[in-house]
């Protein structure tokens, strides 16, 4: 049982590492066509959108929990708060929410 779990962990590690490593190790980033370069520069913002939504609404069964957290984070980030403040502030707001509801 235990040795098979360790093998699973090693397998998971390998299939996770390869996609992380290949592009960085192989591309020097200079010989790319401009359109592809533009697309790659767009990736961070697109992927952040996809990572946040819709999952943030589903973190608890109560959908208002996620909505409250999202609104708190958006307001804090919009007024220019530091990322750490956004994280801790949202946790604080949701702790308050859990205590009240």
């Amino acid at each position: 049982m235990s040795s098979s779990i360790i093998l699973i962990i090693i397998g998971m590690g390998i299939v996770t590492y390869i996609p992380r490593m290949l592009p960085l190790a192989l591309f020097s980033g200079k010989s790319m066509p401009p359109f592809l370069e533009g697309v790659l520069r767009n990736v961070p913002y697109a992927i952040l959108g996809a990572l946040i939504f819709p999952k943030i609404f589903l973190i608890q069964d109560d959908i208002w929990f996620g909505i409250t957290g999202a609104i708190a984070a958006l307001i804090l980030a919009f007024i220019g708060a530091n990322v750490i403040v956004v994280v801790l502030g949202s946790i604080g707001v949701l702790s308050l929410y859990s205590l009240l509801f």
């Binding site: 299939v15 592009p23 960085l24 992927i47 952040l48 949701l94 859990s98």
Partner: protein, 241 residues
């Protein structure tokens, strides 16, 4: 020589500072992972080993529920691959932004590409130096591995309210990274919204699994917006003549 090494040390320190918000965000997530791992029946050694070797939150959670349901090794490893294939895109995107460096060194810090470390590096102004990359990745990795162990040991004794509210941590961090760029550029707003809409459609219609849904929505959004942008530029170019 000396100046170069001082510069390296300071960019490493800058990386650690920028990675601090990730380390804080990982704490609750990894605590929860350690706790869940214990209830699934893994040992402390296996729990910490998984965080050391895999270092990818979503897939580690998923593997626990698959192990609990008695799934085979192949299914678990394949699911992990699918969930983590998005790192390929991140790595390709980063290759545009990092300073020139030996492939071997880049392969080392590439191990630490996660949604969070990528977001911090990719939204940094200017290029990403090797020292900065190691700083961000190093502190995040340390927090992830250590917190997994702590979670296994004491996770169950944290107050329930705090355990629940901490689930928002990483999403809040993504918002904290995205919004400043949104305020500066409408293009960023369109990119994020379009990808969010595609991802919601794929997930709710159950056409794609989680990992593929993120990859597909990101590519669609990045390509469509770049295409529109190129067309606009071309049209402007013609009318200028």
């Amino acid at each position: 020589m000396l100046e170069a090494s001082i510069e390296k040390a300071s960019s490493f320190r800058e990386g650690i500072q920028s990675g601090l918000s990730i380390a804080i965000g990982y704490f609750p997530i990894a605590i929860a992972f350690g706790l869940l791992s214990k209830t699934t029946g893994l040992t402390l050694f296996e729990t910490v080993l998984m965080s050391l070797v895999v270092f990818a939150g979503a897939s580690q959670y998923m593997s626990l529920s698959l192990i609990a349901s008695g799934a085979g090794a192949f299914v678990i490893i394949f699911t992990t691959f699918v969930v983590n294939i998005r790192h390929f895109l991140m790595s390709a995107s980063l290759s545009e932004k990092v300073e020139p460096e030996k492939s071997l060194i880049k392969s080392l810090y590439a191990f630490g590409i996660t949604d969070e470390t990528f977001s911090v590096m990719a939204t940094k102004a200017g290029s990403v130096s090797t020292g900065f990359a190691f700083g961000v990745v190093g502190i995040s990795y340390a927090s992830w591995v250590i917190s997994s162990g702590i979670g296994f040991a004491i996770g169950a004794s944290l107050p329930q309210v705090l355990q629940e509210s901490m689930t928002v941590a990483l999403y809040a961090m993504f918002i904290g990274l995205l919004v400043p760029s949104m305020k500066k550029s409408m293009k960023v707003v369109y990119l994020a919204i379009l990808a969010a809409v595609f991802n919601s459609i794929f997930l709710f219609s159950k056409t794609l699994e989680d990992g593929w849904a993120i990859v597909t929505s990101t590519i669609l959004s990045a390509v469509i917006i770049e295409f529109v942008e190129t067309m606009k530029r071309r049209k402007r170019g013609i009318s200028d003549e």
